[in-house]
Symmetry: C2
Subunit: 339 residues, 2 copies
């Protein structure tokens, strides 16, 4: 298995990428080779003094970098020697199995659609982050922003893709798929969800759990929630924002009094444990599903641990055969949808 890492993407690149890769080579299964795409001098500096299996960590020089400020599609077309484009190309050419980048989300999406390309029959690839839930597992939001305007068929395929991932990577048997909606009742919704609901009801091969209201996302009652990328982006970012706001408000309250400060200090391990459970770096990254190969978009502020976890996630994605499963599911149901 070969994993292609964009060593130049993210706030702490290339050091965090390199450190995550080294930890993965040491701790994860040994049948994996890592290719680091990026500035050779910088990567070598990061590797200085470190011991690692040289045959399993290769530097693939890339002379350009795509920043978050650039228009993504144009940059991907123009910067043929950028780290993210070359890493994606390795997957497109069948040399690598999965690529990981913490760089510009738009650039990663463009690499997915323009370079690796859609699986035959897939209407739209989808970005699918995972949120920690109250049952100790994760709930997937699919799509979280790759497709802001959607048609019912896209959402049907998101259900198939999310189901495949949750089963093969997270090990959930018969994952429960929800339709993000503004009410639980079947007749609720906007034009899109009203049209999508009956399609999901009759879709074979997935377990449709009905409408999921946004307040149920973290309950763990659903393994994946399908939605258009606009509402999915709102859901993802509001989850992040509220978690951050409440943490910040609680800190202010605790620090505002002697009792609070003392109580907070004593209860510190409990806060640390909660923080760990809510920590995005534990999850890895958000897979881009529906393209011909593995793509994982790691958080822009990923540290070494986040990259380590993204690599572990990539291993599972490749071993599980998620891409093949999605292709088979989508092609089987094309017959249903057309007929």
């Amino acid at each position: 298995m070969i994993l292609a890492l964009d060593a130049m993407g993210g706030d702490h690149a290339p050091q965090a990428v390199v450190d995550g890769a080294l930890q993965a080579l040491q701790e994860l299964e040994q049948d994996m080779v890592i290719w680091l795409f990026g500035d050779e001098v910088q990567i070598r500096t990061c590797l200085q003094g470190k011991e690692y299996p040289e045959g399993r960590l290769l530097i693939k020089p890339a002379t350009e970098v795509i920043t978050c400020e650039e228009a993504p599609a144009a940059a991907v077309r123009r910067k043929k020697n950028s780290s993210v484009v070359l890493a994606a190309k390795a997957v497109a050419d069948g040399e690598a199995d999965c690529f990981i980048s913490a760089g510009s989300t738009g650039a990663v999406l463009s690499c997915g659609t323009l370079i690796i390309r859609r699986i035959k029959g897939v209407q739209r690839p989808a970005l699918a982050p995972l949120i920690p839930n109250l049952q100790g597992g994760h709930t997937m939001i699919i799509d979280a922003g790759a497709n802001v305007d959607c048609k019912p068929l896209y959402l049907v395929q998101f259900a198939q893709m999310g189901s495949a991932y949750m089963e093969l990577v997270e090990g959930v048997e018969a994952p429960v798929i929800g339709l993000l909606n503004n009410g639980e009742e079947a007749e609720k919704g906007n034009e899109l969800t009203k049209e999508t609901y009956p399609l999901l009801q009759k879709l074979e091969g997935i377990r449709f759990g009905g409408n999921c209201e946004a307040r149920e996302l973290m309950s763990g009652d659903f393994d994946a929630v399908v939605t258009d990328g606009f509402a999915g982006n709102v859901l993802l970012k509001s989850t992040e924002g509220v978690a951050k706001a409440i943490t910040s408000m609680l800190k202010t309250e605790l620090m505002g009094s002697l009792r609070g400060t003392i109580g907070g200090a004593i209860a510190k391990p409990a806060f640390a444990s909660l923080k760990k459970k809510m920590d995005y770096t534990e999850v890895g990254g958000a897979p881009l599903l529906g393209v011909n190969g593995g793509v994982i978009k790691a958080h822009g502020s990923s540290n070494a641990k986040a990259f380590f976890n993204a690599i572990r996630q990539a291993q599972k994605l490749v071993k599980g055969g998620v891409t093949k499963k999605i292709a088979a599911a989508v092609q089987a149901s094309e017959i249903q949808v057309e007929g």
Copy 2:
């Protein structure tokens, strides 16, 4: 000023409605009369043994109740003697200034559009809940579910309505209005927000602060955030859901160890203070803006304090002249939009 209360709406009706009304008559300004619509016997039972100014609290018998299980529009048309319909009718007929209900959201919306009716020129009335923010104030989400499919002009009017409310009720000078979007940059968005952005930019009479990502809702940088009712509903409910999930996770962590339990007990006042800040009962309810009179939808689980605060909010809404201000703003810009 006359306020019409649906005494039968909500999980704790009629007792909580009656208690909230009694508190309001005692503590708020004296120029207000409250009409309680509902079952006379039940309301009298709730009033037993309590002292109150009899001339300022009148029972208006209503023999029917609309439940949350009924199809709202049909129920509003059929149950002419229901508490919520009669309370709305009092506003429609100009007898009362504002009506408040914690009953079925759908029924309250239907009462707004079918009985009280839209302000001339308003395309769609909008439900506009208020969320506590990090700066100690509130941020309005408009619309949070009344209109799941929207056109750009609706959102433009939501901006005018939200601005009027935040200025006249919350006392914010030149409220900052944001457009809920999947990125900060002006060119981001789905079809709806891309078309809406330039309209808001050139709209006179409001202070447009650009795109607001969902994660910024609680920052306090925006006073009101305009959105279609589907995404707004996702934003509202995910805010509620995440706050609840984190509280529950934190409780579990604290109770799971002796240190956590002790620390949590010591820091209790800090937790209580945070809870109060996040407490929806402090806000009152969500106004329905854009109809010919005051309408406030209180939370279904409202207690006496929530009703008290909804009554205070209704007072401000009426005194501030929000309806008139919205009418003037919408009519002035009709010329802009048409021309």
